[in-house]
Amino acid sequence: MRITRRAEFSASHVCCQPSLTLEQNRELYGAAANPSGHGHNYILEVTLEGEPDPVTGMIFDLKKLKDIIQQSVIEPMDHRFLNFEVPPFDKVVPTVENVAAEIWERLRAKIDGGGARLENVRLYETDDLYVDYTGDPS
């Protein structure tokens, strides 16, 4: 049994590696390398997997899940410039892949255990680009 909770945040970022030229960064990241940054309305879908507790009938308390997502992701990232305001993105390029992996790490420890486990983090950067992360780096 899986449950999926959706949340949204708006943030700006710039994708560039300081060791590369602007031209090389544009080749890798396209317009996302433009130096002053730009923003997205990110949509996050957090999927938990587990068996419903026989007493509560729930895999995980959705209110608690909402609070975890709010405290771990939405409050620190919403209406922020990721590169300047949200570590580790002062050192790590905030590609949609890296942001999804960072969200995974922030959520996993707070969710796993108690009959449920974090199964998937889906992060939409736009309607036309999203990533799914299941925690395995390969």
């Binding site: 080749e27 990241y29 396209g30 905030p94 890296n98 992996a101 680009l129 299941t134 780096p137 390969s138």
Partner: protein, 148 residues
């Protein structure tokens, strides 16, 4: 696993008609889709790639490279075309969504190694939506029809 999905759109027409069936059998099987002059759809195509993130770039794949590959191999030949007439693979192959996915897969694989050496990322899945009520997916499990 990290999977990256990119969505594309194209508009194209097709007619479902098998040369192995009689006129009547074709009408029975394909219904309106067998109407003689064809008809069109706004297709939505999703291409999913999978692999490790590059440590420095943070990318599974440079999206510009994927976009260029999909444009050159698929979109520029399919968009605003009549499959049966304009796309050589469908001269004898019925352009169902299942077959369109197979052709897209072959076209992408034909240049995959050139664009993505070392097999990174790998092509994980292709999804094609003919209308909002029909979605087809090809993955390692093969084509599945998720229509109503």
């Amino acid at each position: 696993m990290m999977r990256v999905t990119r969505r594309y759109r194209f508009a194209a027409s097709h007619r479902l008609h098998s040369e192995h069936l009689s006129e009547e059998q074709n009408r029975d099987l394909y219904g309106k889709c067998n109407n003689p002059y064809g008809h069109g759809h706004d297709y939505t195509l999703e291409v999913t790639v999978a692999g490790p993130r590059d440590r420095d770039s943070g990318l599974v794949a440079p999206i510009a490279s994927l976009d260029r590959l999909v444009f050159e191999q698929v979109l520029q030949d399919f968009d605003h075309r009549y499959f049966n007439v304009d796309v050589p693979e469908f001269a004898k192959l019925v352009p169902t969504s299942e077959n369109i996915i197979r052709v897209i897969e072959n076209r992408l694989k034909a240049r995959w190694q050139t664009v993505f050496p070392n097999g990174r990322p790998r092509l994980e899945a292709i999804r094609l939506q003919e209308t909002k009520r029909n979605r087809f997916e090809s993955s390692k499990a093969g084509v599945t029809d998720e229509g109503e």
